[in-house]
């Protein structure tokens, strides 16, 4: 029902979606998010995390989502270690009998994960130098809108 996994292995979104969709007897709606490493001036990413706390924090986010919307299952898989362009960094899936609930739960978990799960990213530039990624205020804004209550009123 609530599943979180941190892995150094490559994430295969295709098989994750197959397993997530199959686990339930026709749940109705499944929404997924996958975040990929972009290419261009970044030649690699490295993700570091706080073992234990990461799983605990993401677990709390999933339970919080489930208390707000009638979700059936939520799954998060986050990769750590070295990640190359095009590879998947994170996968979030949510299922529900109601599509609006599945959309909200998936986006909610992703918005909280970005700013509240102890993971840190650094990027390698074309010259081979590593730079820690700075947190963005816009990510805090996206999380905060879930507590503003505006979205629920309009949903």
């Amino acid at each position: 029902m609530f599943n979180v996994r941190i892995t150094t292995e490559a994430i295969d979104v295709s098989s994750l979606l197959r397993d997530f969709s199959d686990q339930d007897d026709g749940v109705g709606a499944v929404v997924t998010f996958s975040g990929q490493a972009r290419g261009g001036s970044v030649t690699a990413l490295e993700l570091e995390h706080y073992p234990g706390m990461t799983e605990e924090r993401i677990g709390a986010m999933m339970r919080s989502a489930a208390s707000r919307w009638p979700v059936r299952a939520i799954e998060v898989v986050h990769r750590v270690g070295l990640i190359l362009p095009r590879e998947t960094i994170v996968w979030v899936a949510a299922s529900s009998a109601h599509r609006a609930a599945a959309f909200s739960a998936c986006e909610f978990v992703m918005d909280y994960l970005k700013v509240g799960a102890p993971l840190w990213k650094r990027e390698r530039d074309t010259e081979g130098n590593w730079h820690w990624v700075q947190a963005r205020a816009s990510d805090n804004d996206r999380r905060d809108r879930w507590s503003a209550g505006v979205r629920e009123e309009t949903s």
Binding site: G35, L47, E48, H49, Y50, G52, M53, T54, E56, R57, H78, I89, V90, M110, L113, K114, V115, G116, A117, P118, L119, W120, K121, R122, W132, V133, Q134, A135
Partner: protein, 83 residues
Amino acid sequence: MKIRFFANLRELLGTEELDFADNNFPSTVAELRVLLRDAGDEEFAAAMADPNVLCAVNQRVADETLHIEAGDEVAFFPPMTGG
């Protein structure tokens, strides 16, 4: 008692863990930050004073006034940038 450091703090300090004798342990997060300033270079000291740098006690982000007790798991890290 051990204190863990992540990301750029770990790099600045050159280690991911510091040992503190329990009898020297400060009582609050704010006091611990002051004590830790001497553990690294100037940049590390500045990070310890930076309110954006977070402290987790027992795997929860902690308020500056939180009392730390023997056996607590304490960690410092910059704002999170996962996903």
